[in-house]
Amino acid sequence: GKFEPSIYKIGCTQAIKNKWIEMGKSAVSRKVQHVDDRVRDLLVQIQKGEEVSAQDIDALKRRKLISSQIWKGFSVKKGPNYTPKRKKMATDLTREHLQRGDWKEIEFKEYNFLAKGQPTDGGCLHPLLKVKRQIQLIFLQMGFEEMATNNFVESSFWNFDVLFQPQQHPARDSHDTFFLKEPSTTRSLPEDYVERVKQVHESGGYGSRGYGYEWKREEANKNLLRTHTTAVSSRMLYALAQGKFAPKKYYSIDRVFRNEAVDRTHLAEFHQIEGLICDRGLTLGHLIGVLEDFFSRLGMSKLKFKPAYNPYTEPSMEIFSYHEGLQKWVEIGNSGMFRPEMLRPMGLPEDVQVIAWGLSLERPTMILYGIDNIRDLFGHKVDLSLIKRNPICRIGLN
């Protein structure tokens, strides 16, 4: 009879192989009388669900006569929440729920509290400026008045000479200071005061010997980007000396510029914090007292003072604080009493003293937030996500 081509193929090849048939020219002839078709037997066995050896299964598989199937079975029984009607779980409470009143029946799909919520969309303030604000508040609470610091451009006169910093001093080197090409010199200076400053530099006075060098007006005229906010303090004290004297407490927190090499913790511009008190009869004891008050408000109550040198203060003290985390003493600022060579030419009465101190804004901020590269805190390379993640500044809150 006729067979389907696929069936014929299977059967033919094997039949020839087993020498059951012979392929003639026009017909196929039988070679043996009886066929022992083992394959057929195996297949029938499998069909019946009887066990077959793994070897045989492999052979049959290879010939693609059988293919294995995975048959999964589940045993199902009624659970505790079984209900004949299907219940839908809500993901949110909506207006419709409230209006329809069916909020009483709905069940909420369990919320995954291991994941975070949706980030808020608002803006935020800059970390360094948040610290600045807190420190400003501390000064204001201590009764200090803010100085007008909105002038980055200053003359060498106010930045150096008035402070009794001699004209040959290395800090006045172009290596450390940004001198200006435009406007290169200051337009005017108070002439009678200039005379007195010149005198005190050259030959002293007010109990001082002076520096004994030739003071040059051209040097004083040179404009620069201020290297410290003490330049502003000079102007304020001079203005104070022109009227009837009254004690003052001033502070400022603003930008200063240094033409030094930049590295991980130093930039060409940074913010200086400065405080000063001007009154009759002030002593080093007063300075230490104020420093202890000020720094304790910043959270630093363990202080040590080291004698130091500063061209415009005498005596001068470096301020150290014990850092619990780092387990060591860390320098946090500088302080001192302004020299008579600076105060007397201004016209301040002889019994008036000025105590002052300063520190940078960036350093304590970096220590506070664990930032080790200043460019991660200040400037255009700051990652905006860092600004957003920065917590409220707690300085002064305890």
Partner: protein
């Protein structure tokens, strides 16, 4: 501190009563001045001539020497002292000074020639009409000029005052600078003609005037003021002309102040006119003059406008340390010629709107930095609340970043330039916040969009009115960077800033608020940018950042940007 000598009896007459020395001492103490010395006119003369002291006779005029604060130019004459004390005692209200209501066309004109900029650039003028002088008033008028010359004018180097009998001269006037031999006139107190160069020689032996010669003597051109018939009014700062000299008969006074410092010139002129307008036919009224420069710029002088400021009551109280009710504080302010009007400030606190009259040029700000800082902080909060993140950027940048990369040209009149930068990034101080903000976006390219950042910070500009030649201006800038440019959102932020600073949106030309005009700046896309005009002045701009600029800063997404000068809102 300056001392003013006034005749005791004249002063008491002006005050409306007599005082014992103790009583007067007490009044001075309460006000804040000091009776330094009591002497007589003759004793002063004797002292000047180094003669022996004699006991003063009964008919000698008693002179009070009163010490006044160095910044109170309004107390440098009897008129000013009397007025201040009368207001302090509640006898008089604070005077309202006004400009005569004449049209601009009827005003006298002072034309300024450009050569004056080489030696003495500024001039301000005013007219006092219908004045009546007697000997005492005349002397007081001259004395005040002398005192102002000594003090605020810094011995005439900064400002010089010239006063003239207006009926002897005729406008329009010109303020010029000419080579000395070309100037020829009869100076005050002389009878013959002098050329200006001859005059310099002549005055070398004059005890009073020789100290002022140095101010102009080495200049190739001397400043000079002419009237329409080429009569010389004055050769500032040396001497005025004899022709226009003031006498007891003068009825109309023309005052001109030439200067190298415009601010001080205005203070000086204001002091002169406010003190002596009390003698005008229309009391406290001053007639304005128009000053016109070669380039067409002009202004009306004097500027007698009241300076207004808002002060918090609690601030005043905490500064003094005494708890005073608001009306007491207001009364005290009024006593000092500061007109105080009760007002409720933004945060519902009690405060005052204080109008500072032109006589109180010593009132600059209620402590500048405190006000500016608080204002800045409040603005920052509003911007952050609008969803913008604050950044803090560098003042120093490269010349390219400040100009070329922003498509801007440097006209050499704005930027402060460093002489010794180590690298290009320290070449100049920023004249706008834009380059820093764009650099910040460039470094945060991969931050999720939209990126909304802002900065409130100082820019540095050349400024001839400052002693160092430059000053800081506080600016606010913000940028939106996203899939779309956000132009209308930045525009909305501009509106928001104006809303929180209390400035109403008005129609173009209206000076009571702000309006927006299309602009044409190179850093923005043409047609998608505008200027913000506030009270008639441009205070800022906003627009879509020009694609070329975006490319220069390596920013792949569209941005809209705004920048305003916030000091304009104070």
């Amino acid at each position: 501190m300056p001392t003013v000598s006034v005749g005791r009896d004249r002063l008491f007459k002006a005050l409306g009563r007599t005082y014992t020395e103790e009583e007067f001492d007490d009044l001075c103490f309460k006000f804040g001045i000091e009776l330094d010395d009591v002497t007589t006119e003759k004793a002063i003369l004797r002292k000047e001539k180094h003669l022996d002291e004699e006991k003063p006779s009964e008919d000698e005029e008693v002179i009070y020497k009163i010490e006044v604060p160095a910044n109170r130019y309004d107390l440098l004459c009897l008129e000013g002292l009397a007025q201040a004390l009368r207001i302090f005692e509640g006898l008089d209200p604070i005077p309202t000074y006004s400009l005569a209501n004449i049209g601009q066309e009827s005003m006298l004109k002072m034309h300024v020639k450009s050569e004056t900029s080489k030696i003495r650039p500024y001039v301000v003028c005013a007219v006092l009409r219908g004045v009546t002088f007697d000997e005492a008033r005349y002397n007081s008028f001259i004395d005040l000029q002398d005192r102002l010359h000594q003090n605020i004018c810094r011995r005439r180097t900064l400002v010089a005052i010239g006063t003239h009998d207006l009926d002897t001269i005729e406008g329009p006037f010109t303020y010029e600078a000419l080579p000395p031999p070309e100037i020829n006139f009869i100076p005050l107190k002389q009878t013959k003609n002098f050329r200006a160069d001859e005059l310099m020689q002549f005055y070398k032996s004059d005890m009073k005037l020789k100290k002022f010669l140095h101010i102009i003597e080495n200049s190739p051109v001397f400043p000079v003021i002419y009237d329409r018939s080429r009569t010389v009014l004055s050769l500032p700062p040396i001497i005025t002309g004899a022709h226009s000299a003031i006498s007891l008969k003068t009825k109309n006074v023309f005052i001109e102040c030439t200067a190298t410092d415009l601010t001080k010139a205005n203070i000086v002129l204001n002091t002169m006119v406010t003190m002596f307008s009390v003698y005008c036919e229309r009391k406290f009224e001053v007639e304005p003059v128009e000053v016109i420069y070669d380039d067409g710029k002009s202004y009306i002088s004097p500027d007698l406008s009241l300076y207004q400021m808002m002060v918090n009551l609690s601030y005043i109280i905490s500064t003094i340390g005494v708890s005073l009710p608001a009306h007491e504080v207001a009364r005290s302010l009024n006593k000092m010629q500061l007109h105080a009007k009760h007002s409720v400030l933004e945060n519902n606190e009690t405060g005052f709107t204080i109008s500072v009259p032109p006589t109180r040029s010593d009132i600059l700000h209620p402590i500048d930095p405190q006000i500016l800082n608080q204002f800045t902080d409040l603005i920052k909060e509003e911007i952050a609340m609008a969803g913008y993140t604050e950044v803090l950027l560098f003042i120093l940048c490269s010349y390219n970043e400040n100009f070329t990369m922003l498509n801007r040209k440097d006209d050499k009149s704005t930027a402060v330039i460093n002489g010794n930068p180590r690298t290009a990034e320290f070449e100049v101080s920023r004249t706008s916040l834009m380059n820093g903000i764009l650099k910040s976006i460039g470094h945060n390219k991969d931050h999720p969009k939209p990126i909304k950042i802002f900065e409130v910070g100082d820019v540095v500009l050349l400024d001839e009115t400052k002693d160092v030649g430059a000053s800081n201006r506080p600016h606010l800038a913000a940028v939106y960077c996203g899939v779309t440019s956000g132009f209308e959102l930045i525009h909305g932020l501009v509106d928001r800033v104006m809303e929180v600073t209390g400035n109403p949106f008005v129609s173009p030309g209206d000076k009571t608020g702000y309006y927006i005009l299309s602009s044409n700046e190179p850093e923005f896309l043409p047609g998608r940018q505008a200027s913000i005009i506030y009270k008639g002045k441009q205070v800022g701009t906003f627009g879509i950042v020009h694609p070329q600029v975006l490319d220069n800063f390596g920013i792949p997404d569209p941005c809209s940007y705004m920048e305003v000068d916030i000091e304009s809102f104070l």
